[in-house]
């Protein structure tokens, strides 16, 4: 196990290096310039040039890249050009907010999708199965900007039960987390349903039933455990994606998360902040993937990590 972990971590460093390098080059090749964005449309060419010198953007790209790698190696992710603070501070403020939102969304998704998936599989082909399949298809296909605004119209504007935006209290979490969770519910329910239907056709399930085990025990111990690996894999991927990809929901609900920070950094060409955010998001993604892989051997003792 330990050699496995060491190998995975070493590999992660390479992946991170690749990610920052690609991002470093890509943001500088993209048209536009941070100094121009900061000074606005009334600035003269001289003003822009002076600011570029102050920001170190007048240096050749390899020099900038070398300096950047040296700093990253010392765990210094640089200073955001626009926020006038270390990029890592800006990100660290938002990571907990994003984490609260995504974890709650995942909890909601799990709480809804497992019962729905099991019910649908157990009632394969019957009306209950069709109803659940329809609901999960809808959940997966409704665009979240529309869903979010509909939830605001109903629960904030008409019923006045919940706030429409901001991040002060637990009540502010409900609508955005629900909006994020519904597509997940759709994906997971369908995955659980089809996984269960496959497993339930296996011989060992028939054997388990034949030896007189209760339907619940068959479902939980023999069927569910054996189709969890793809479900956990998809959950991990989705969670990783939400780390940086909940931009739309964050915008609709004025939620101060990492996705919005990254989006604004990109439109401002805030190079250090873009690089730092991608680094953190990539790191989070790698970590989640590692945890998912480690969970395989727990879920299926036949899998040994070495």
């Amino acid at each position: 196990m330990t050699p496995y972990l060491v190998r995975r971590l070493a590999l992660s460093v390479f992946v991170l290096w690749g990610a920052v390098t690609v991002v470093f080059v890509a943001v500088r090749l993209a048209p536009g310039d941070p100094a121009q964005m900061m000074l606005g449309t009334s600035a003269t060419a001289q003003d822009v040039a002076a600011l570029q010198v102050r920001l170190g953007l007048d240096q050749p790209m390899p020099v900038q890249y070398g300096r950047y790698l040296l700093r990253v190696a010392r765990l210094d992710l640089g200073e955001s050009l626009r926020l006038n603070e270390p990029a890592i501070v800006a990100i660290a403020e938002r990571v907990p907010q994003t984490a609260r939102l995504t974890v709650l969304a995942m909890v909601i998704a799990v709480l809804l999708s497992f019962p729905m998936g099991i019910l649908a599989a157990a009632g394969g082909g019957k009306p209950i199965d069709r109803a659940i399949s329809l609901i999960s298809l809808l959940g997966q296909s409704v665009p979240s900007f529309w869903l979010g605004i509909m939830l605001i119209l109903v629960f904030a504007r008409e019923l006045r039960l919940l706030p429409s935006g901001g991040a002060d209290t637990w009540q502010h979490l409900v609508l955005p987390a629900t909006t994020l969770a519904l597509p997940l519910v759709g994906i997971l329910t369908r995955l659980i349903r089809s996984g269960l239907l496959d497993v339930l056709r296996e011989d060992y399930i028939r054997t388990a039933r034949a030896k007189g085990l209760a339907a619940r025990v068959v479902m939980r111990r023999h069927a569910l455990m054996n189709m969890l690996i793809p479900v956990v894999t998809v959950m991990g991927l989705q969670l990783g994606q939400l780390l940086g990809g909940a931009v739309i929901v964050e915008s609709v609900f004025a939620w101060p998360g990492v996705g919005r920070l990254l989006l604004e950094a990109i439109s401002n060409r805030d190079y250090p902040l873009i690089q730092a955010a991608i680094l953190v998001i990539t790191g989070g993604f790698l970590l989640i993937n590692l945890l998912v892989d480690l969970s395989y051997s727990y879920l299926d003792p036949r899998i040994r990590l070495a």
Binding site: A30, P31, G32, D33, Q36, M37, M38, L39, G40, T41, S42, A43, T44, A45, Q46, D47, V48, A50, L51, R54, L81, R82, L83, N84, E85, A90, E93, R94, F145, W146, I149, I152, L153, A156, R157, R160, P163, S164, G165, G166, A167, D168, E250, S251, V252, F253, A254, P256, R260, L261, E264, S267, N268, R269
Partner: protein, 526 residues
């Protein structure tokens, strides 16, 4: 729905951006009302303290643009929204009166020009920072030097500053290399922070100043919370807490105003207003502002090198109809290259809708069959920009000019704009300083070469207007500049935009302002 969202963002971003673009002007301006005399201009000392009131309640304000930082000196030194929130915390030597737009005393009680290259300010002696220390001339020097050193958007406005002297604790003398007529207005953009702390790491996470509110808590993206400063020299403000929050999307913002989650917002898109006006709890105020629409034609590119072609493009448009249909009560027809609320504005003869005259001018220019051109723009940089441009394109089509729309992301658009890589450019801009210098002086001088137009006569008007502290003379020079730019049709100037404010009726004491910087210090709530 999506369309509306986009628009909203646009409108807001437009403000943010134009703010960034416009600030410099302020410096230059000295609006008409500014104390003008080079000799002993003394503004009425704002001494009389209001009868000590007890701050009560809370006002929640939705800012139209995200507050990027609380540091007003560096890159964000012309960001309207940063100045809007920070003016409650930090004060400037002079400030704009909300109702008149004039420059009035702030931390300085009076100022004079002992000679045309020297501005001498006398500070009030009863102002104290939130930590109890006195505001002195050294603090003014420290903040101004910081603005200059950080080379942000405001720094070029102080390029002529030679030295800053502090002969005593309450006198600041700014010596310039040449006379600078805009220095007073520029100082209205320099918030004063304690010199001993201003360069310390993390100071602007929770900055202190001498203003009517103290920072309670802030982090970018989350709420900014301010609390009343009971020891403020001008007397305590009306409310105990002031909260600023940003909503990136319009639907939740409007909902929040309707449900009372927030009390105040501004810069809403025109299509949001009718619904709010019908709401009995909400009041909508609008006044002409410092923001305006313009379409530049690249005078260094064929066929726009010919003034008749540019004029033809202007005559081809039925501006009144477009404004009525698209912007309604949020705009009015512009009469000059800068809005009528700005120092240095001089009204010109409008280009009235006349397609046959347009065709005739094109024929005279040797283009009886029209021509092809493109227009670059950044969606969201102005209200109803897409619709306005579509209308323009169909009007031009009617005189045989085939125009292609080139929509660009903001960073790409600015890049092309600055490189003069375009036939035409559509955008809005704000004269954030309220003075023609920032806009006319920066954008139309040959040296700037921002639109391909070069005219030595115009350069002279613009240079002379900056290099004098005689505000009447400045005004006369800008009148000439207005006329030259308008008659030569360097651009088409369809509209000046209104500042639109929407707030719940429990908020009282609000005075709508033409400036892009709104103050909440004197509001109260029921």
């Amino acid at each position: 729905m999506k369309e509306r969202n986009t628009m909203k963002t646009t409108r807001r971003r437009f403000l943010a951006y134009t703010g960034a673009g416009g600030l410099g002007l302020l410096a230059a301006a000295c609006t008409p009302a500014a104390p003008t005399a080079p000799a002993a201009s003394t503004a009425p000392a704002a001494s009389a303290k209001p009868a000590a009131r007890v701050p009560a309640g809370e006002i929640k304000v939705a800012v139209p643009v995200k507050v990027p930082t609380l540091d007003p000196h560096g890159a964000q030194s012309v960001e309207d929204v940063s100045h809007t929130v920070l003016q409650h915390v930090m004060e400037t030597l002079v400030r704009r009166d909300a109702a008149s737009g004039n420059l009035v005393p702030g931390l300085a009680t009076e100022w004079k020009n002992p000679d045309p290259t020297m501005w001498s300010f006398t500070l009030r002696t009863d102002a104290r920072f939130h930590d109890g220390s006195k505001v002195t001339s050294a603090d003014v020097k420290g903040s101004l030097e910081r603005v200059i050193a950080l080379k942000g958007a405001l720094a070029p406005q102080f390029a002529q500053v030679d030295s800053i002297a502090t002969p005593d604790g309450s006198t600041v003398q700014i010596k310039t290399k040449t006379p600078v007529g805009t220095l007073l207005a520029n100082m209205a953009m320099v918030p004063i922070a304690p010199a001993a702390q201003v360069n310390a790491e993390g100071f602007f996470k929770k900055p202190i100043g001498s203003g009517p509110f103290k920072v309670l808590s802030w982090s970018a993206d989350a709420d900014l919370r301010l609390e009343a400063n009971l020891d403020y020299w001008g007397g305590p403000p009306g409310v105990k807490t002031l909260v600023f929050r940003y909503y990136p999307e319009v639907a939740p913002l409007v909902t929040a105003l309707e449900t009372g989650e927030i009390d105040f917002t501004w810069l809403l898109a025109p299509d949001q207003l009718p619904g709010l006006q019908r709401n009995a709890q909400i009041k909508v105020d609008s006044v002409p502002g410092w923001t305006y629409y313009f379409l530049w034609m690249n005078s260094s590119r064929q066929p726009f090198t010919d003034k008749r072609v540019r004029q033809a493009m202007a005559y081809a448009l039925d501006v009144d109809k477009m404004l009525k249909d698209l912007l309604g009560a949020s705009a009015k027809r512009a009469t000059a290259p800068i809005p009528s609320t700005v120092f240095g504005h001089a009204p010109q003869t409008p280009y009235n809708y006349d397609p046959s005259k347009a065709k005739q001018l094109l024929a005279q220019a040797g283009l009886p069959n029209g021509f092809d051109a493109d227009v670059i723009w950044n969606p969201g940089s102005a209200p109803q920009d897409r619709e306005l441009l579509q209308a323009m394109i169909s009007y031009w089509n009617a005189i045989g000019v085939r125009v292609k729309s080139q929509e660009m992301e903001r960073a790409v658009w600015i890049d092309n704009l600055n490189k003069l890589n375009w036939d035409m450019d559509l955008q809005a801009n704000a004269v954030t300083t309220g003075d023609a210098d920032f806009t006319l002086g920066r954008l139309y001088h040959s040296r700037a070469n921002r639109n391909g137009y070069k005219n030595p006569d115009l350069d002279k008007f613009l240079d002379d207007a900056v290099a004098t502290v005689d505000q009447d003379r400045r005004k006369a020079l800008y009148a000439q500049a207005n006329k030259t730019i308008w008659d030569d049709a360097v651009g088409i100037f369809p509209a000046e935009l209104f500042n639109v404010f929407a707030y719940r009726k429990r908020v009282t004491g609000f005075v709508p302002t033409a400036t892009a910087i709104t103050s909440f210090a004197n509001l109260t709530v029921q």
